[in-house]
């Protein structure tokens, strides 16, 4: 209590609110005069009386100092003094200040920007209640690890599990929304009834789904996003009785979700309950398309849940043999959403950390050079009574002030660079979670302070050293020769700077090489001049699914045919076709594959799997997929002609390495005897298909993945897609075709929206967006590092030249020519660079291994990259030495010697 009172009073002293210094002095004076008077009385002479009194007081100045310290808070006062002094120093050297603040702003700015992304994506919890308990649940088998599940499996898991407080199934789907003028295609999510309660998010208006709404017939209700509510319902809080047509059927709106709610895709506009007709194929164990999310009960561990799920899956497999070998698994929802971005982000974070480290080294160098010029000032200050810690504090105040200035400018830079985030939309998950929030600000503040202490400490320790102080006073007005210690320190800084820059540059080099490799991959099609779009066919096109029918129902066949024919009639169109999903958009549709010229598999576990793509029209020509052998599928492959398939090169090589694949018979099912009898509809025989052609490998899974075996069949002869992607090859700008295609579609069915119109080139560019962003950013950081390193070398060499002016003058006076001087300076710089390069190489060999997860087609220790970068950095270093070396050759021996 009393202590606080005292502290408060002393703080008041900062504002001049307590006893003024003059009063303290007066008290001491009065003390002294009383003492002197006493001494005089005891017979001392006046001089001695005063001397004794002062002695007893311990010196007037010292006593005054002690008293003042007690009166106020000298530490804070001296801090304020330091701050004022530092501000003045920075203002006095605008050049130095600008360079330092800019260097720091870049260093701290990139760190803040990358950290805010890491914070939003990796660190920040998902925006749901108790997100750590939310799990991604998936089915697991040897052929399809961590894949989606089937509705019956999901329902059984939901019903029997004892581990989850809620387990919900969902999948994304597009809906054609009509009844509002222009038809629109909306991204929706089809979810089980407990979806929202599992996530613990409730609608802001209305209610969530009821269990009964999973029954076919009561399922026509929907919950809409906040954005939909604003755009389509004018934010009207009264939603009762409102309805919209989805795929031609009226759905009642029962709820509105809070703003910003989404799970996987922020563009999701609506949610509907999942329900199918009882005999629908969706309800079979054959259709794996459901995602699952579950909330673990309190106290249940992941392992417990895992064994719980798997024992249920085993029970299912005993009852349904087609489920044999299919288990289940789970992992934290956050982890599954972040996925591959984790590695990329960590690599970037490491890179910006290096940039900042290099910036620190540079600044330490700058400060060292500057403090050498301040030797006299420091010496005077210490002679006047400033002790070493006081000097240290003063230096640190200066450097931290600098770094805080740099940090605030860096924050501004980070703010603007985050506004570029939408460019990374397709490459980053959870992008809406990225903000400059309190954590980021705290990060920036701590990084700034740490940076300031880090780069300020070494020069401060160095220049406050006592020996140097006395030296520089003795040397008087002469420029002091650089002491050995500080020279070694400065050289060490340059070496470490070169080493760090090398590591970062090699990282950028590897990322660039990897990206170049990726672009060099032959996609297997010709992407230029190709327009693509999607159309969603409502269930009305396939009213009575008939499992025994060959190919698509007549209405779907007619739709494909009519649309493709009318598109091909448009002027400028060379070919048009359709498939289920386009290259570079993922391997989505797998099928069993049984070549009949080999021994048949004896168990369902041994049946092969391949990728399947139904095609319509002139798909191969439209995309430019090359025909290698045989013929392509065309309008003659109809339901009543021989069932034909085309395979890709990988498939042909895998199954018929030394034979001609043309004419081979295959099944796109297991052999009939391996299918459980209850799954075979009456009158259905597994169809045999004939291979009629081999085409080149188009990359479906992505340029960085080896092409999988693919079978193509005609939409009219085998499985078909109700949400096809169309491809149109034009002889000019493909985008110019959009309006003609839109009106062609409207003429066939005006309730169908044309969706997702993009060129194939755009799809290619999107598919490599993440590696491109990574390469661009790493190159940027690498360039920054190189620039900083060059500035560092330049600074040190310039300083060294200025220190050696006298020596150079003598050498020249003794007959050294320009070349010799040039060589001497450059050798000195290059020797440092070489040591740095060697250290950097060792470091890079150890560190780049961490990048292997984000590299494609290039080893993390790629010798060529290492070589090129070393040479590049050496050249830059040479240039940075050359400029000061040139200056050294212009030293006039006479002037130099006169200065001595």
């Amino acid at each position: 209590m009393r202590r606080w009172r005292a502290l408060l009073l002393r703080m008041a002293g900062l504002l001049g609110k307590n006893r003024p210094d003059s009063e303290l002095d007066e008290e001491l004076e009065s003390h002294l005069s009383m003492h002197v008077a006493d001494n005089l009385r005891s017979g001392m002479n006046p001089q001695e009386a005063r001397r004794q009194a002062l002695l007893k007081l311990g010196g007037m100045a010292q006593a005054r100092e002690l008293l003042r310290e007690r009166n106020r808070l000298p530490r804070i006062e001296s801090f304020i003094q330091d701050l004022r002094y530092a501000t003045r120093m920075l203002r006095k050297n605008p050049g130095f200040t600008t360079v330092a603040v800019l260097t720091l702003a870049f260093g701290i700015g990139v760190n803040t920007a990358i950290f805010s992304v890491v914070n939003g994506v990796l660190l920040r919890p998902l925006p749901y209640a108790d997100p750590g308990r939310l799990m991604w649940v998936f089915s697991n088998s040897q052929a399809f690890p961590e894949s989606t599940t089937s509705p019956p499996d999901f329902r059984t898991l939901r019903e029997r599990n004892t581990s989850f407080a809620g387990l919900s199934g969902f999948y994304g789907a597009f809906f054609n929304l009509t009844g509002t003028g222009q038809p629109e295609r909306m991204l929706g999510s089809v979810v089980s009834a407990e979806y929202f309660s599992t996530l613990r998010v409730q609608p802001v208006l209305g209610r969530s789904f009821l269990p009964a709404e999973e029954n076919w017939g009561s399922h026509r209700v929907m919950i809409v996003s906040h954005a939909f509510w604003r755009s389509h319902l004018n934010s009207n809080p009264d939603i009762s009785g409102k309805s919209f047509n989805l795929d031609g059927e009226p759905y009642n709106i029962v709820g509105v979700m809070p703003a910003g709610f989404y799970t996987r895709n922020p563009l999701t506009q609506l949610w509907v309950p999942m329900a199918w007709k009882p005999n629908d194929n969706y309800n079979s164990h054959n259709n794996y398309f459901l995602n699952m999310v579950g909330r673990l009960k309190p106290g249940v561990s992941e392992q417990q849940a895992n064994s719980d799920l798997n024992s249920i899956m085993l029970a299912i497999a005993r009852q349904f043999p087609e489920n044999k070998g299919i288990g289940a698994g789970l992992k934290p929802l956050h982890e599954s959403l972040v996925g591959s971005a984790r590695h990329a982000l960590l690599v970037l974070l490491g890179a910006v950390g290096l940039v900042l480290l290099i910036a620190c080294v540079n600044l330490a160098n700058l400060l060292l050079a500057r403090s050498a010029g301040r030797q006299k000032e420091i010496a005077v200050r210490s002679a006047l009574g400033a002790d070493r810690s006081r000097l240290l504090w003063q230096f640190l105040t200066e450097s931290v002030l600098l770094s805080l200035l740099g940090g605030s400018l860096g924050l501004v830079l980070a703010y603007f660079s985050l506004s570029l985030l939408p460019l990374a939309e397709n490459t980053l998950p959870l992008i809406t979670q990225i903000h400059l929030d309190g954590w980021v600000l705290l990060f920036t503040l701590s990084v700034s302070v740490l940076t300031g202490v880090f780069f300020g400490l070494m020069p401060a320790l160095q220049s406050s050293r006592a020996r140097m102080l006395s030296d520089s006073l003795k040397e008087g007005g002469r420029t002091s020769e650089d002491s050995r210690g500080s020279h070694r320190l400065r050289s060490g800084l340059v070496v470490s700077e070169v080493a760090l820059a090398l590591v970062l540059l090699i990282g950028s080099g590897l990322a660039l090489r990897s990206f170049q490799r990726l672009l060099g991959v032959d996609p297997g099609f010709a992407p230029s001049h190709v327009l693509t779009f999607e159309v969603n066919l409502p269930n009305a096109y396939d009213p009575v699914p008939d499992p025994t029918r060959i190919g698509a129902p007549p209405k779907v066949v007619a739709f494909y045919r009519d649309l493709l024919e009318s598109i091909e009639r448009i002027h400028g169109v060379k070919a048009a076709g359709a498939t289920s999903s386009l290259p570079l958009q993922g391997e989505s549709w797998g099928k069993f594959f049984t070549p009949l010229d080999r021994p048949l598999p004896t168990s369902i576990d041994n049946v092969e799997h391949v990728q399947y793509r139904p095609v319509a029209g002139h798909y191969f020509n439209a995309l430019g997929i090359r025909l290698l052998k045989g013929r392509l599928l065309d309008e003659h492959d109809r339901a009543d002609s021989t069932l034909s398939v085309v395979v890709n090169e990988t498939l042909a090589r895998k199954y018929w390495p030394d034979q001609d694949p043309i004419g081979k018979l295959v099944l796109l099912n297991p052999p009939q005897n391996l299918i459980p009898a209850n799954l075979i509809p009456p009158g259905f025989h597994v169809p045999k298909l004939t291979v009629v052609g081999v085409v080149g490998d188009a990359h479906y899974g992505g340029l960085d993945k080896d092409p999988a075996p693919v079978v193509y069949a005609s939409t009219e002869q085998h499985d078909y897609s109700m949400s096809p992607s169309f491809t149109v090859r034009s002889d000019g700008d493909p985008k110019a075709l959009v309006s003609s295609i839109r009106s062609a579609l409207a003429q066939i069915d005006k309730s169908l929206p044309l969706a997702n119109v993009v060129t194939m080139e755009e799809i290619m560019s999107t598919s490599v967006a993440q590696p491109r962003l990574e390469a661009v950013l790493l190159t940027l950081f690498g360039g920054l590092a190189m620039l900083l390193a060059a500035v560092g070398i330049y600074g040190v060499m310039s300083y060294s030249v200025s220190q050696r002016t006298g020596e150079i003058g003598i050498r020249m006076a003794l007959g050294a020519n320009h070349g010799a001087i040039l060589r001497m300076i450059c050798t000195q710089g290059l020797r440092l660079t070489a040591v740095g390069l060697a250290g950097g190489l060792a470091l890079a060999l150890a560190v780049t291994r961490l990048m292997s997860n984000v590299l494609f087609g290039v080893s993390p220790t790629d010798p060529l990259t290492f070589f090129i970068i070393v040479v590049l950095l050496a050249l830059v270093a040479l240039l940075a030495c050359y400029v000061p070396a040139r200056r050294a050759t212009r030293v006039d021996p006479l002037v130099a010697l006169r200065n001595e």
Binding site: R2, R5, A6, S30, H31, L66
Partner: protein, 113 residues
């Protein structure tokens, strides 16, 4: 070194308070002389440390001060005990006595006969 000084300052504070209690309002020089006299001149007060100690006690509210005129007509700052200061003297005296009593017992028992 810092610790020894603290103990010294602590005792100095008590001496100051006790002096003010017995003598009434007094200026710094007077306090110093009085302490030296009471201790039979076996204690030497570094006058330079006395004034910060006085200032500290004042900041803590145990004493208050005002300008006054000394016996030989000099302006001097006079210190007097406050109510809190009086209580503090009692408390500290008691504590000090307890401590010295314990220490005395401790030292006599430890001494080998």
């Amino acid at each position: 070194m810092g610790e020894r000084k603290d103990v010294w300052q602590g005792t100095l504070a008590l001496m100051v308070l006790k002096t003010l209690e017995t003598m009434g309002p007094l200026h710094g020089y007077g306090i110093a002389r009085r302490i030296e006299q009471t201790s039979g001149d076996s204690l030497v007060v570094q006058y330079g440390t006395l004034y910060p100690a006085l200032l500290k006690l004042e900041q803590e509210g145990y004493i208050a001060s005002d300008w006054g005129v000394s016996e030989n007509n000099r302006r001097a700052r006079y210190y007097r005990l406050t109510r809190a200061g009086r209580k503090q003297v009692e408390r500290e005296t008691r504590e000090w006595q307890e401590t010295t009593a314990i220490l005395a017992r401790f030292l006599t028992t430890e001494k080998p006969s």
